[in-house]
């Protein structure tokens, strides 16, 4: 149990290396077995996780370059735990539902390496290690988009790579500068995030560093105006690529804010609430409108992803436990729901080789199971109570109301605009007369597809009705994070804005 995090990180990679010698015909079974074991391992991690402890658990630390303070340093808390579980789950389900047959071996090996880097990002507690996994994750994704994508795949892949890479280089400069300050203050080098937490930086230093990290994370999230790579990436990527991209890769950005920006630069974070909230509002409203104008189902979901990430960003900067917990929960919810939606679009694409809404209409009559599951995911996406989508969205809006009621009302339009574009997809694709001959021959979901979606439906409803098992540990860690920020903040304004507990007026 002590080394479970290392096992989680390197098991897929080792299995991926061994996979080179596995026969092409059995690679699919091999891959699914590996990711299933990985998922079970992550469940075991959850099982062994001490829910009452808000700090880092399963910590592993091996110095790599002691002179530079770089070490192999892993750990997980309530915030990262569930993102890891979600990562392994979505990889498993994505791979199990994958219909791709071309170069299947390369695809599965890429996915295994990708899984290593994704888990690595969420457990790394050393900045260099974090950066390593962060950048490595681009490579398999570049390959997946570039090799299996649509007609514009090379453009999309390069755009994705260069854009995020540029951002992360700026982040790297920020990291090196933090390490430099750490060295000049303490006399020793260290890249351990937990050491960096102890640094109390002057506000202007915080602001500059916040901006450096912000650019790296914001491009990944992707925040307006850095979001334009995502429609191309989603539009061109194969289904599995979109699933992983939406479910996990985007969460790296928001996770970065939680892991680095908030605890390291509390004053700068408080100062940047308004600008970030404005950007988030633009993301929420503007991209929801763009989603409405789309003709391609997948693009609607791609833009809706950006819109939902806006809600997550808003929650991160609510500076209270309600908003932050809701935001982390929304990361999981968005991962599952958007992943499922992309899988569904992929299924219809495999049948008709088009994703244009105008090509469809009335297919609920021939594909009732598909329509049902799509409907459930759609409702989760628009935040219907008792589905997973409501809990996060509600908590985020509730939390942010404390910061700014006006902005919350604007952000709340997401529940209207979300319904507008999603229902339009539903109406134009599933409803209306079934008059296209091509569509009359469509077959409903097969067993493989059904069974890869049913677990997601079950989770969507389970966590909508009873989110406590997930929400409670998140809440614990979030509260610890907030009280840490409060302690560390140097300006009184920041202390006033970070709300720990008992802030409701009538509360007792």
């Amino acid at each position: 149990m002590e080394n479970i995090l290392s096992v989680l990180v390197f098991f897929p990679a080792v299995a991926g290396l061994l996979g080179f010698v596995v026969d092409k015909n059995s690679i699919r079974t091999y891959g699914i077995t590996v990711v299933a074991i990985e998922f079970l391992l992550s469940l075991w991690l959850w099982l062994g996780f001490d829910m009452a402890n808000p700090g880092m658990q399963f910590v592993e630390m091996i110095p790599l370059i002691p002179d530079m303070g770089i070490s192999y340093y892993l750990g997980a808390d309530g915030i990262s735990l569930f993102i890891i579980v979600m990562t392994t789950l979505m990889t498993l389900i994505g791979m199990a539902s994958m219909g791709e047959t071309k170069n299947i071996k390369n695809m599965i090996l890429s996915l295994l390496f990708l899984e290593m880097t994704m888990v690595g990002v969420f457990v790394a507690l050393d900045a260099i290690l974090f950066y390593l996994f962060w950048e490595l994750s681009l490579v398999p994704m570049l390959y997946i988009v570039g090799a299996w994508g649509g007609p514009l795949r090379v453009y999309a892949a390069i755009k994705f790579f260069l854009y995020t890479f540029t951002g992360s280089l700026i982040m790297l400069v920020g990291m090196l500068f933090v390490a430099y300050i750490y060295h000049s203050l303490t006399g020793v080098w260290s890249f351990a995030i937990t050491d960096w937490y102890a640094l109390v930086l002057p506000v202007n230093y915080q602001l500059w560093l916040f901006v450096a990290f912000f650019i790296g994370f914001a491009i990944k999230v992707p925040m307006f105006p850095f979001h334009t790579w995502i429609p191309y990436a989603h539009g061109q990527a194969p289904t599995i690529g979109s699933v992983i991209l939406a479910a996990v890769l985007l969460k790296m950005g928001t996770y970065g804010f939680v892991r680095f920006s908030l605890p390291m630069f509390p004053d700068a974070s408080v100062l940047s609430i308004t600008p970030i909230a404005v950007l988030s509002l633009i993301m929420i409203i503007y991209t929801a409108m763009i989603a409405y104008a789309q003709k391609d189902i997948k693009q609607v979901i791609a833009y809706s992803s950006v819109s939902h990430m806006g809600i997550i960003m808003l929650g991160l900067f609510a500076m209270n436990a309600e908003g932050l917990s809701g935001s982390v929960f929304q990361m999981l919810s968005h991962g599952i729901v958007s992943g499922a939606l992309f899988m569904l679009v992929g299924m219809i694409y495999e049948r008709r080789h088009t994703k244009l809404m105008s090509e469809f209409g009335g297919i609920a009559a021939v594909m009732p199971k598909f329509a049902l599951i799509f409907g459930i995911m759609l409702m989760a996406s628009v935040g219907l109570p008792l589905t997973i989508g409501f809990v996060g969205e509600f908590l985020v809006l509730l939390g942010f109301y404390q910061v700014s009621p006006v902005m919350t009302i604007l952000a709340g339009t997401s529940i209207i605009l979300g319904a507008v574009y999603m229902l339009r997809v539903m109406k134009r694709t599933f409803f209306g007369p079934l008059d296209n001959e091509e569509n009359k021959k469509l077959s409903d979901l097969n067993t493989r597809e059904t069974w890869s979606l049913i677990p997601l439906v079950a989770i969507v409803i389970w966590l909508g009705v009873y989110p406590k098992p997930v929400l409670a540990p998140i809440d614990n860690s979030v509260k610890a994070l907030l009280s840490f920020m409060d302690e560390k903040a140097i300006t009184q304004e920041a202390k006033d804005l970070i709300r720990l507990s008992n802030t409701t007026k009538g509360g007792n």
């Binding site: 789309q294 509730l398 109301y401 507990s501 409701t504």
Partner: protein, 639 residues
């Protein structure tokens, strides 16, 4: 008692899941029967709870399990059965049971029979959560749940194509369903804001805890919360300007219209105001309450005016629902919460009966709803005729039927509060109500036979359906007689809902009642003279009048849907397109690509330095060296 609470709540869910098991298989009659039995069970449980509450007066409050906990926020699934919720539970489960049985007959030929029952029972479950919840967020679950079920059921015949607004004012079932959902979502945002406001100022969302804190809240908070919650109520109860979805929702199967868009879901907004009566009775929010009453009165009149000229049977009933909801809000806004609730119950019975009768007509006429194509149906559909007449008399407000007692009380309240303008409008509306409801009865069941020449051969509904409808007919007649015992029952809850007429009003009550009756009777008489006679005085269409300004204005619903389309839907679409093609692609993305292209072309341009000529390279080298020297010199001078 907890046992009954859970039965009342979960029996519909069980029924829905049971039907869902067969959702994709062909029609199975037992699915409908089992579904009805489950809802019937919920009704029995509700009735037991109501009886126990009536005899013992003990409120049942159960807490099932935790739901959302984060920070200090803590909401659980909790249910409360008090006088208000038990009224709703009984009404909802009773009407639902009857509608379920009715639907077995009505949906007889539909291939999605099983799916229909699954949705219908899911709706009842959501409605039960809505009324039974002990906190605002639980209410919100039900609130959104009924919204989704309404979306599913309005769009039940999803395969129908979109038509133009001239051909079909509701365009298509799936369009109407989306309109209903989105319009409700707009209102739901208001409700969410109200919830946030209450939470941050009281630290809880549980009704009793929130209401206990009310006296300590500032005026801004109280007014804000009252307005925000009422916006939520406006959406669900289709109050102006969020009313257009209700008439369009008539695209759904008629049992759905009867259950959801007449008896239960649309009254949820009224229920919310009644439930939050401690908030709306605060002296600080009296302006908001008065606004509610005024808006209610306005909607009562406004909707009734549109019903005057409508030819579509179902849409007339929809307008009358809107109008009656206005009456309920008028009562609630004036503080007569229990009268509003009583009218809600009575209205549920006679309106459901009216709709189901309308469904019979529609079934007989093969989905033809145009009143001008009917006439003289009473000979062929005697049972339905009787039911429709009873329901219309009740709706028109003639004693001794249910509508008279409850509506008269509302009108009396308006007099009692000295809001004479409201009183006048409500009385006038009562006359209009009588006119349009009898216009509809006379046009369909009396007068000249206009349907046989058009090739219709109507036939009466199945006998079991007519029998199933009979409890509603009985209730539409007798409910009003129990007004005083209901008053005693609801008064147990405490001061909040109690409302008594002043001595002065009491004195004048008989005259006030007579005025209302006079208006109602006049309405009926006018309708009779115009529409019911045969032969020489038979009803003839008047082209000139139909092209008149007022007629067209009313017929087009004051051009409100047109306005929404032109000034909201279309611009929204246009701006979205522009954002995508002009802003996102041409500005935001083009900037990114521009940077990339700049770097690329910069490399491309500077490539010409690479001549391959050593002499050129040496020249560049010298330039570089000189530049470095200059920089070094300058920095030395500055430094």
């Amino acid at each position: 008692m907890e046992k009954f609470v859970y039965i009342a709540l979960f029996a519909p869910l069980a029924g829905s899941l049971f039907a869902a098991l067969f959702g994709m298989t062909p029609r199975k009659i037992f699915v409908g029967i089992v579904g009805s039995l489950f809802i019937g069970l919920a009704f029995v449980a509700s009735a037991v709870l109501a009886y126990t509450l009536y005899t013992t007066g003990t409120v049942v409050h159960v807490r099932m399990m935790d739901w959302i906990q984060a920070g200090d926020f803590n909401v659980s699934f909790g249910f409360v059965v008090d006088q208000i919720s038990v009224t709703m539970m009984t009404v909802v489960s009773l009407v639902s049971t009857i509608v379920h049985v009715y639907a077995i007959g009505y949906m007889d030929h539909d291939k999605s029979f099983n799916r229909f029952f699954s949705y219908l029972s899911a709706f009842v479950f959501s409605m039960m959560i809505l009324v039974m919840s002990d906190n605002f967020l639980g209410l919100f679950i039900g609130w959104e749940g009924v919204g989704v079920c309404s979306w599913l059921l309005v769009g039940f015949w999803y395969h129908k194509a979109d038509k133009t607004r001239e051909e079909n004012p509701s365009i298509s079932p799936s369009w109407a369903a989306n309109e209903a959902f989105i319009m409700n979502r707009i209102a739901d945002l208001g409700m969410l804001i109200g919830i946030f406001l209450l939470y941050w100022n009281t630290g809880s969302l549980q009704y009793d805890e929130v209401f206990a804190q009310l006296p300590y809240l500032s005026e801004t908070v109280l007014v804000g919360a009252a307005i925000a919650l009422f916006i939520g109520a406006m959406g669900k109860s289709a109050q102006f300007p969020l009313h257009t979805w209700l008439t369009d929702a008539m695209e759904g199967p008629t049992p759905v219209s009867a259950l959801i868009h007449a008896a239960t879901m649309v009254t949820a907004g009224v229920f919310l105001v009644i439930r939050s009566n401690p908030l709306y009775s605060m002296p600080e929010v009296s302006d908001v309450s008065f606004f509610i009453a005024s808006l209610g009165t306005f909607v009562a009149f406004y909707a009734a005016s549109m019903a005057l000229v409508e030819r579509d049977l179902k849409r007339i009933i929809a307008y009358s629902t809107l109008s009656q909801l206005g009456y309920m809000f008028a009562a609630a806004g004036l503080g007569a919460y229990w009268i509003a609730l009583f009218h809600l119950g009575a209205h549920a019975f006679f309106k459901a009966l009216l709709f189901l009768g309308g469904g019979n007509v529609m079934h007989a006429m093969h989905d033809e709803l145009d009143l001008f194509k009917m006439g003289d149906l009473r000979k062929k559909m005697r049972g339905t005729w009787i039911y429709m007449t009873i329901a219309s008399v009740a709706l028109a407000g003639l004693p001794p039927l249910a509508g008279f007692w409850s509506k008269d009380a509302i009108i009396e309240t308006a007099f009692n509060e000295h809001t004479y303008v409201l009183w006048g409008m409500l009385v006038l509306t009562a006359g209009m109500t009588a006119f349009y409801s009898f216009r509809q009865v006379f046009l369909s069941f009396h007068g000249e036979d206009r349907h046989t020449p058009l090739g219709f051969h109507p036939h009466e509904m199945y006998r079991f359906v007519l029998i199933a409808m009979s409890p509603l007919a009985v209730l539409a007649i007798i409910t009003g007689w129990f007004m005083n015992s209901y008053k005693a029952f609801i008064y147990q809850i405490g001061d909040g809902v109690q409302y008594e007429m002043s001595e002065h009003t009491h004195h004048l009550a008989t005259y006030l009642g007579l005025i209302v009756i006079f208006f109602a009777v006049s309405g009926i008489v006018i309708a009779y003279l115009k529409y019911a006679r045969t032969g020489e005085h038979a009803f003839r269409r008047n082209e000139e009048k139909e092209n008149g300004f007022f007629y067209k204005l009313l017929k087009n619903q004051y051009y409100v849907p047109k306005f929404y389309e032109e000034f909201i839907t279309k611009p929204y679409m246009m701006i979205s397109e522009k954002f995508w093609t002009e802003v996102d692609l041409k500005i935001v993305d083009a900037t990114v690509d521009g940077i990339a292209k700049f770097l690329y072309s910069a490399g491309d341009k500077t490539r010409s330095m690479q001549t391959g000529n050593l002499s050129n390279y040496l020249n560049w080298m010298a330039v570089g060296a000189v530049l470095l020297l200059v920089i070094a010199a300058i920095s030395a001078m500055i430094g």
